[in-house]
């Protein structure tokens, strides 16, 4: 039966060409848009995890409430002990201590007077320990534009764009003007070891990366830190394990009555990413719906036209005694073959274009100049296992729906009228 229908579809192109083209275009767009949105989503998650949230993050409850303001006065105390505890309790994860801070970077002239000054978004990480995972997490080695990685205390990295604006180069000294965890103004001198470009506009505007003990001294945060970040061992974010780790940690360490007790938050919940990730889920649902509905209407229309053209054929089949239900089912089977052919072609084309976009990417840096979203300037599509079958949902769904509706006409024809219709 299927072989018979397949022959019909291939030999009678007027019956199949238009629906196949429709399905191919729709499926191709579905796959392409899915891979593109998936790429953007993955980049935001990956950048946010690397620079801000980790896959899980420990803060004090009070710090978490105001995390956007980097409230280091509410930071974790006795952080060395807590760091050892989490490493022991969750050995499969990679842990790292960080301080995020704001301030001004001031460049002196030969008299020690301010030559240039700019607002800085600072990050204190373990830069100097040989076992530190930070250079890998932040991709520092590949991001260096001029100079080198810090190799001793008192050295920092700053973003290349920021260095250009301040007129500072590797080897120069700059003064950080910030606030201690007690709120006092503090100043600390650092030597710029190198400049970096992360390819993320929000960071490249004014980033400074310093070694954790240096910044702890500068901000009067001895054995204190704003955050402890945890990453899965392969650095791939998976929601469920992160949520499990969070629940286990909070069950034994969080204390609802103490605003300075440590609390762990999974990536999704921190930095307002939950709404963004939910939005992407909605995008997928809307995307599939958008392609199913118009494609169904187009294919319904195509089915109606086909029914008109095949009016005689269906009449003959009914006249020779073929059951209406059988005819209806055979037309649906035929449409499913068309749907499969269109979906395969559409998926193949969509995946090809997506792979090209995954490899090459598109630079949208000019659109991100004032953006605060942590996303790389070059946005790439991302092909996932879902990309291989996602297009089949609208491809088969629309053809099935279109033919099911247009085929209802078969049941409206009267067998008693067939002879008259045939004569006409």
């Amino acid at each position: 039966m299927i072989k018979f229908l397949l022959k019909g579809v291939i030999r009678d192109r007027s019956r199949s060409l238009f629906p196949i083209i429709t399905v191919t275009v729709g499926v191709c767009l579905t796959v392409l848009v899915y891979c593109w949105v998936e790429g953007i989503s993955e980049m935001i998650v990956s950048s946010t995890a690397s620079f801000i949230t980790g896959h899980v993050k420990i803060m004090t409850r009070a710090y978490y409430q105001e995390a956007d303001q980097m409230p280091n006065d509410l930071a974790l105390m006795d952080v060395g002990r807590l760091f050892s505890v989490v490493k022991k309790e969750f050995p499969s994860m990679v842990w790292t201590v960080r301080i995020r801070f704001g301030g001004l970077l001031d460049v002196p002239d030969e008299n020690g007077e301010t030559k240039a000054q700019g607002p800085v978004a600072g990050l204190a990480v373990d830069l100097l320990s040989p076992s530190s995972p930070e250079p890998r997490i932040l991709n520092l080695a590949k991001s260096i534009v001029r100079g080198r990685m810090p190799s001793q205390a008192g050295e920092i990295l700053i973003s290349e764009e920021f260095a250009g604006r301040l007129g500072i180069k590797p080897g120069d000294t700059a003064t950080l003007i910030g606030s201690t965890m007690h709120g006092s103004m503090t100043t600390a001198n650092f030597v710029v070891a190198g400049t970096v470009r992360f390819g993320i506009a929000a960071l490249d505007r004014g980033a400074m990366i310093g070694d954790l003990p240096d910044i702890q001294r500068a901000l009067d945060m001895e054995d204190a830190a704003g955050e402890i970040l945890g990453f899965s061992s392969d650095f791939v974010y998976r929601r469920k394990p992160s949520v499990n780790v969070t629940a286990r940690f909070n069950a034994s360490h969080a204390n609802a009555d103490d605003e300075f007790s440590p609390e762990m938050v999974a990536l999704r919940e921190s930095s307002g990413l939950a709404s963004e990730l939910d939005m992407f889920s909605y995008v997928y649902a809307v995307l599939i719906l958008i392609f199913i509905v118009p494609m169904s209407i187009v294919l319904w229309n195509a089915g109606l036209m086909g029914s008109l053209r095949r009016y005689g054929e269906i009449g003959v089949r009914m006249a020779i005694g073929e059951d209406k239900g059988h005819i209806y089912r055979s037309m649906i089977a035929e449409s499913m073959i068309i749907g499969i052919i269109g979906s395969v072609l559409g998926t193949a084309i969509g995946l090809t274009v997506s792979y090209v976009l995954q490899a090459k990417g598109i630079n949208i840096g000019s659109m991100l100049q004032s953006s605060s979203i942590l996303i790389t300037n070059t946005v790439r599509a991302r092909v996932t296992p879902v990309s291989y079958y996602l297009g089949f949902i609208p491809g088969l769904g629309a053809t099935f729906l279109g033919t099911s509706i247009s085929g209802i006409g078969i049941y409206k024809r009267q067998t008693s009228q067939l002879a008259k219709e045939m004569e006409a």
Binding site: L74, L104, T114, T175, T180, G183, S184, M185, T187, D220
Partner: protein, 256 residues
């Protein structure tokens, strides 16, 4: 009968007017004009120069810490402050010359000018900002006042004055002050933004008689936008019309 009633009403009304006028004139005789009160407050608190050693106890959300400083103040335009405690802040200095403010930290040996949004930052984590320090303390120069009533604060009769800034570039667009009627010293203060939002409060805890002036020697500043427990400010010693060498008010003095 009708004429008699009219006469009675007229007599009552004119009597009330006379009584009201008498009360009003008695009140105005006792209450000097608001601007005059402000000038008296400025006279009581201001001097050509003074040297103050003070202690700030800063109550943050988490803990409290004490910062001790010595300030040399000349008129309203020049001041020099050196921090004496805690050890981390020791040697940090601040210089105000007119509308400009510099700070010096011995750890970096750098003199940094405080300007722009940094002026809104807290001084040593307290409830006071650099902008507060930059203010012209002579209220009569900056605000026009109106007497809003009378209240008792610290068991002292006070006049309540509502102040409205005469110019735009001031830290607080409006203030409400409670001035001791006899001592010309502010016992309570509320500071407002242009929108009318309350920003800071000052509550005086003690007033002392020093060199023929009434001086607030213990008070609590509270930044209502901060969640801490306020900043206690206690004057350890104050010397009016002290001799201050000129070099103190120079940038070179910061590094000495």
């Amino acid at each position: 009968m009708k004429t008699h009633r009219n006469k009675t009403c007229w007599c009552l009304a004119s009597g009330m007017v006379v009584i009201f006028a008498a009360v009003a004139s008695a009140f105005s005789a006792q209450t000097p004009p608001a601007d005059e009160i402000l000038k008296r407050v400025d006279r009581n608190q201001g001097s050509d120069n003074k040297i103050i050693v003070a202690e700030m106890i800063i109550h943050s959300r988490r803990d409290s810490r004490t910062v001790k400083s010595k300030s040399w103040i000349q008129g309203v335009k020049q001041s020099f402050t050196e921090y004496l405690e805690p050890a981390r802040e020791k040697g940090t200095k601040m210089l105000k010359l007119g509308d400009e403010l510099w700070t010096y930290a011995p750890s970096t040996d750098r003199t940094i000018k405080i300007s722009g949004h940094m002026l809104r930052q807290s001084v040593m984590g307290s409830d006071l900002s650099y902008e507060d320090m930059m203010e012209d303390p002579e209220l009569a120069n900056v605000y026009e006042a109106r007497v809003a009533g009378e209240e008792t604060v610290l068991e002292r009769p006070c006049l309540v004055l509502e102040l409205k800034a005469k110019k735009e570039d001031v830290a607080y667009a409006a203030r409400k002050i409670w001035v001791d009627r006899e001592r010309d010293v502010v016992l309570r203060e509320e500071m407002f933004a242009k929108s009318g939002k309350l920003l800071k409060t000052l509550e005086v805890k003690n007033v002392a008689r020093i060199q023929n002036r009434w001086i607030q020697d213990r008070m609590v500043f509270r930044d209502v936008l901060k969640s801490g427990g306020g900043t206690e400010f206690a004057i350890e010693s104050i010397e009016f019309n002290a001799r201050i060498p000129d070099y103190i008010f120079s940038k070179a003095a910061l590094k000495k």
